[in-house]
């Protein structure tokens, strides 16, 4: 055997070994990656599991160390007793009404405002749009107190107007989101409609809105989730239990602390579930919305 063929055989073997190392490396890497993903997800789900587990325990099992994850008996009455005690159905109904009004309100106004910014020519467009961008970044605290004073002068404390009216006059976030989307709709469609004798309002209703269904869905979901979860505004304006939303109702319930942590946990589960359902139903839209608002912002 001559030297050169020996060298080729040697290098072929080396290449083989290298390939093996690479392959095992890849397999090990993949396994580690999967393990990491699973472990991380485990930690992210732990608080949920702990909440649900506590909500189903008998009082004696709540304060037991080491913790009992699955109680011997599921106490479903943990869900029923506090629900009737504090009238959570009223909190639910209130929140549903407020959310509906806010979604409808902001849909009507923000779309029109966004249409003006995206399509219409008028003097001062740049400056007026700047007011939207500025409000987007503005921390709400600087407008909080005068707004409160104004609304209390109008005797709007303990009504839902302070929650519904501002967003129904157009919310800067939604205006921005909608405007960005409207800008992507081809102007040639407008021109075609114009030639066919369509008015400006007609273009809005017949061209822009039907083509914007995805972003309208996003706006609706964002608004819904926002008002379902919002705490500060209802905390300030709503004092009577029969006016409260679910988030302050829950706080109200927890604050009085009947010595039944499992009840508080059960009601927390109940307050979280509707949004989880909404999220799963509208997941794709929702994620799309976050991405649009984030990347283009």
């Amino acid at each position: 055997m001559n030297v050169s063929s020996r060298i080729t055989m040697e290098s072929a073997r080396r290449a083989q070994i290298d390939r093996w190392i690479l392959l095992t490396g890849q397999i090990v890497g993949k396994t580690v990656l999967h393990l990491l993903v699973v472990a991380g997800a485990f930690f992210f789900m732990l608080p949920f599991a702990w909440m649900v587990s506590t909500s189903l325990k008998q009082g004696a099992y709540v304060f037991r160390m080491p913790p009992v994850w699955i109680p011997p008996r599921f106490i479903w009455s943990n869900y029923i007793i506090p629900w009737t005690m504090e009238n959570f159905s009223i909190f639910y109904r209130n929140t549903a009404i407020i959310c509906t009004c806010c979604v409808v309100g902001t849909m009507c106004s923000s779309t029109l405002v966004a249409y003006a910014f995206a399509r219409l020519r008028f003097p001062g467009r740049g400056i007026v749009f700047l007011t939207v961008l500025a409000s987007l970044m503005l921390p709400g605290q600087v407008t909080l107190i005068p707004t409160y004073v104004l609304f209390s002068r109008l005797h709007w404390v303990d009504t839902w107007f302070p929650l519904i009216v501002p967003t129904s006059l157009g919310s800067s976030f939604h205006i921005f989101l909608l405007r960005q989307y409207f800008m992507t709709i081809s102007r040639e469609l407008d021109d075609a409609a114009k030639i066919d004798g369509c008015s400006l309002l007609g273009i809005f209703f017949r061209i822009i809105l039907p083509l914007s269904r995805p972003v309208l869905g996003v706006v609706g979901i964002f608004e819904l989730m926002y008002w379902w979860n919002e705490f500060f505004t209802p905390l300030i304006y709503l004092n009577r239990p029969e006016r409260m939303t679910i988030s302050i109702g829950l706080r109200f319930f927890q604050d009085r602390d009947q010595g039944h942590l499992e009840w508080t946990m059960a009601m927390t589960v109940v307050s979280v579930i509707p949004m989880i359902i909404v999220f799963f139903v509208a997941q794709r839209r929702f994620i799309q919305g976050i991405v649009i608002s984030g990347i283009k912002g």
């Binding site: 993903v37 160390m65 080491p66 029109l112 007011t131 409000s135 921390p139 605290q141 107190i145």
Partner: protein, 328 residues
């Protein structure tokens, strides 16, 4: 095309001529012009927002600025005191530096940790793994839970005697685990830890950022012999920097407005260790009804947030890479 369009044009032209003929004093009939009509229509569309902005934003800002120079509470009504509120806030009230310290520590702890964690998770979930969509959903899920629910859940998690966290720490052999939200030094770290639970929305943005990086860049880097770490450092990170930048600004603004956690879990305690700026403001405005003083707090908070935002904005030229930008 040529047969239909001229008709329209002619029609328009005659309309214009007719308009000109009719417009006797010129301006009187100006609204008949399509441009003017469009502008009028635009302002009708804009009217909700103009009302909102005029009254609830610009008007409210001016009024709150004015209030911040006044003593305004239930007893005295509103009386001009000049810089009195600010003097008291910055030099006399010991709670203001405390609130500022608490909020700053929270922000400087939570924002970087959230950034790093969200990016790591996004990198992980951007790999080729089984059931990728399901994992993304799981990691995102805590972000859709309301602040109140999060606070209630974590108050229980952090319970020093029966909470899950200390159970785990004691299980791992720690004899004196921290008392978390009941101790002065561990209450803020507890808040920071629980903020990480909601890092999912940041993660989604990083994922979107990662997906928008063109693969040829990685291929080119591979051809040049760059290993994984170098590819991350020289391709992923620069391409992701605009997303980091956006998240950073939003997170800084958000973290300085932290309220629900301290309101529900600790009521600002123990010994004001979790008295955040907004909780401080809330107490002055809605428990003591000192609207003038509370407005001064609001403007101080606004100034701080603006300053930090500008800082991030200014620094962005150094570390944010925009594709399409000319090389310097």
């Amino acid at each position: 095309m040529n047969r239909t369009v001229p008709g329209v044009v002619v029609e328009r032209e005659t309309g214009g001529a007719l308009g000109k003929a009719l417009a006797l004093p010129g301006q009187l009939f100006a609204w008949r012009k399509p441009r003017t009509r469009e502008a009028v229509f635009a302002f009708i569309c804009l009217s909700p927002w103009l009302t909102h902005f005029g009254i609830l934003i610009a008007g409210a800002m001016f009024y709150s600025l004015y209030l911040s120079f006044c003593k305004s509470d239930l007893l005295t009504g509103t009386k001009w005191v000049g810089l009195g509120n600010y003097k008291q806030l910055f030099f006399e009230d010991p709670l203001f530096p405390q609130a500022l310290k608490v909020t700053a520590i929270y922000s400087f702890g939570a924002v970087p940790l959230n950034t790093v964690l969200a990016m790591l998770i996004a990198l992980m979930l951007n790999q080729d793994i089984k059931l990728r969509g399901a994992w993304r959903t799981l990691y995102y899920m805590p972000s859709i839970v309301s602040g109140v629910a999060v606070a209630i859940i974590w108050a229980w998690m952090f319970n020093p005697v029966y909470g899950l966290i200390n159970a785990a720490l004691m299980g791992l052999g720690m004899h004196n685990p921290p008392r978390w939200i009941f101790s002065e030094e561990w209450a803020l770290p507890a808040f920071i830890i629980m903020s990480l639970w909601g890092t999912g929305s940041n993660m989604l943005l990083y994922l979107a950022g990662l997906q928008s990086i063109p693969t040829p860049l990685y291929d080119a880097a591979k051809v040049d012999g760059a290993n994984t770490l170098r590819r991350f450092w020289h391709v992923t990170l620069p391409m992701l920097s605009p997303t980091v930048f956006f998240n950073l600004i939003m997170n800084v603004i958000g973290s300085f407005q932290i309220f629900t956690q301290s309101y529900i879990m600790t009521q600002g305690g123990p010994n004001n260790a979790t008295l955040t700026m907004v909780l401080f403001l809330y107490r002055k405005a809605f428990q003591q009804f000192r609207h003038g003083y509370a407005s001064a707090i609001a403007w101080a908070l606004f100034g701080i947030i603006m300053g930090l935002t500008l800082l991030v904005l200014r620094s962005s030229a150094l570390w944010v890479y925009y594709e399409g930008e000319l090389a310097k």
